[in-house]
Symmetry: D2
Subunit: 291 residues, 4 copies
């Protein structure tokens, strides 16, 4: 069944393009709509309108994020508008609609139209796998900005969630001295077992002056004025946490610290990988639904 | 406060001996009871009876497991009996009693005597850190039993919990080809992100014939007759899961497979490390209690 | 003795600036000349002319490369000219002159003036340590150029010399699938023992189509027309070999392949690290001379 | 041609048995002689005498070491004697004779009989690959003997040759703190680049008291009385160097240190791997000879 699924890819950026080409390459039937001047693989079918793209498919794929205005599909490569209001009219209850970061409004709209939707951004495996391009993007930024090699440098990671775990491993793999901050004893046990130095949040102040680069992954302000004042002047701070982020940016700027707020890295630094991650996640959804 | 804590170590094996010596070396006041013919560090005080060992201490430490008969302390190095019934009479409510795998019966007895007890074996960080000597012990067994090097061998780990995670990392570090079986997509995402091969439980049958050594960490019978029949004849199976274990042992024996059931490895292969883990965990308990 | 050495740093780029500051920070007496508008650490002494910078020092340090025109010191941060002809007049035979890539002409000139010179670029440890920033620079370029993550990508390294060895290790550490090409069986044995895939030069043609990125480290044209024609169209080729390089560039361009020739990476991507490497090497020279 | 080679395996231990079975499994014609009560794979032909085993084969394989008495083949699994004197009579100049550690006497005898011989033990790739089981064997011994885990332990490796390089990598992979002693600055540069701590021989005395286990790989006595006296009392010393070894054993024993002299590990701890290494090396020899 899975092998016979037919896909409609509607809107999105390079990740969606990659996904369409990838599906086509694997022998799936793929139609696309919402892309202008983009060259797809030969066997990807370019639909001319909403009805055409949806017709005869099993899975309709919206981008990540699904929408920027809560009304139309997010279509950076298209100058028209694809309103969910219209789109949903063409989708039947036997089709599966998947998208990323689907808002409550759009979700409710789908209910009205009796459409079965799944938000792939809420899948744990996608979040884990996205941590890989995020960590690589962070490493790329550090390499670009620092006048030293990461090898043999002293790196501090704030937080030991998904990004922290993968970043720590990669940095160690490059040859950095890696310290990870955490709050829970069990996280500190993991940190030790993986061969990193661990530091408890309440000891952070004492050691924060030792690092060449600090990666924050915690979405709450850890690096406040007091702690910022103890960081080395030439230390680079890369904030990977979504708003509000973990750094008091204004204060950091006033202190002359270099802080980079790096968000949404997967789509930027590795769109093909990010597209594949979405694709694989959609297949997991299909598998679990058993449709 | 923590620096001034006084400890009573009652019964146990080499781990407790190591802990007593380690505490004494770090400058703590330590009394011991329940050890015969064991040489301790010079500044460890050997008490002559229950009353003496408990008196004037802040923390009373029982071994892991606390008891084998639900009545007396587990004292492999002592020929007498230390009954909890008696022991608890000497402990006041201002003292902290810690032990490992404290049974409900002993726990209830402590309540009767109004004693504050904590089971350090239930601490997540101890379980995580214990996975390190467990993984090393498993590797040691594999090295001893296999006529090939682990380097370049094909290893399969069943389960990606604490032991699975640490074992996978060490095996990769030695140069093995590491495959990990898991059931959840999110675990498979982690497995991929860490650079191991992942295999879903429902694909296990297809690949199980490829491995030189299989480490089971799942406490339910995964390796049943059907799957066992597909394992290579010279494959080594090491079962690290507590009862019932993950292998149908009788069936495996009948098939001529070499299966080793390896339990309680930390105290066996690395008593000093295991003793330190218990010690560190006890300090975490003290820290959190803020006593 | 070593602790009392006095240094003159003449000309150079950020690496020399870093070295001067590093020496001063470690408590050495340091004079500099040949830098305009560069801020040094407070205890670095800015000399006003050749005589002044050389006077009273033990070790005179020229940059890497020492000279671009074979007549004057390489001074990218200075608009005047410092001719070796003049400079050498101020140096006595009790002083040590060190520089990088010292040409035969300058070397001969030193003989005329009876000056003891050592070329630190010919030191094996400098070449090895320089491979670290070179490998990191190559990884940075790959991350910037590729639409996929290095994690899980298929990387091929041509050659298993200094750069090949360190690059392979870092790529594996990031989570890439690493294949290394070599010609000698003993190199292939090392490649296997380190956990990479090995491919013999004479098998290269068969596998070269499998890679997402190819790093060349061999200074002779391995990637000729025939082999180039088998590379994937979206494969990135990074050539790290000094002239003539290992890629037929014109042919590659005609084929639409993306080839980047990346030379002299250490000074570009990590000047501080590169400066420290030169500094450490100079101390090794001093140690061995026993002066 | 290589695919059609016919092999005669004469004498040896489990490595030779493994090699015979491996060759047969790969479809080669294999005859064996000099093994009693050993079960081979079904398609291995058991010859009844010297003439029969040699007849019709292309490559005659003697064990490692080739001989223990300089007169007869080393046949631990056979109670008769196979004298080279006799054996060589049956070998023609069109056949290739390979063995390990061929003495000058046997080599000269081969010349008399006009037989082309190659000593596979002199091949660099075999020595490199043998360092893998040697390193694993050393790790196994350390795991068996130490009451602590290697993870987080402090390990010192004396020497950064083949065994030192592979052992360092594996120990780091398990999670140990790894320090390597070397004498040459270029080795120290490699040690640093690979992420180990480096210590120069002339600083050894100052740090040797910090280690839990010391692996010696240098075949000359580094650990003399003076240095031995500074080692921790509970430190384990594993000597992997061939005679005279790197440890003053008598002195070490008098001091109460635990020293293990571990020689010829590949054949002991991983005979199958060791057999495969010999097999692969023989194929390399055949390849290079182009026969």
């Amino acid at each position: 069944m899975k092998n016979k699924k037919r896909f409609a890819i509607i809107g999105g950026d390079l990740r969606q393009v990659k996904m369409a080409n990838g599906l086509a390459k694997d022998g799936y039937y793929v139609k696309v709509f919402g892309f202008k001047d983009i060259e797809f693989a030969p066997n990807v079918i370019k639909a001319h309108n909403m009805q055409e793209v949806v017709e005869g498919t099993d899975v309709i794929v919206a981008p990540l994020p699904c929408s920027l205005d809560n009304e139309s599909v997010n279509t950076p490569f298209y100058d028209g508008k694809i309103f969910f209001n219209d789109l949903f009219k063409h989708i039947s209850k036997n089709q599966l609609f998947v998208g990323g970061k689907i808002s409550e409004k759009i979700s409710n709209l789908a209910k009205v139209y009796n459409i079965y939707i799944v938000d792939y951004f809420e899948r744990e495996e996608l979040t884990i796998l996205n941590a890989i391009p995020t960590a690589e993007g962070a490493i790329q930024i550090a390499m670009e900005e620092l006048p030293i090699t990461l090898h043999n440098s002293h790196c501090l990671i704030l937080g030991f969630g998904r990004i922290g775990k993968i970043l720590a491993r990669m940095l160690l793999g490059i040859g950095a001295n890696v310290t990870v901050e955490a709050r829970k004893y069990q996280d500190l046990a993991w940190i030790k077992s993986y061969g990193y130095n661990g530091v408890h949040l309440n000891q952070l102040e004492k050691v924060i002056g030792n690092y060449d680069v600090i990666f924050n992954t915690i979405p709450s302000v850890i690096l406040d004025t007091e702690i910022l004042s103890k960081i080395k002047k030439d230390c680079l701070v890369i904030d990977l946490a979504s708003k509000p982020g973990g750094v008091d940016f204004e204060m950091a700027r006033d202190m002359g610290l270099k802080v980079i707020w790096a968000l949404s890295l997967p789509g930027k630094v590795a769109p093909n990988t990010a597209g594949n991650i979405i694709k694989d996640t959609i297949f997991n959804i299909i598998d679990e639904l058993g449709v």
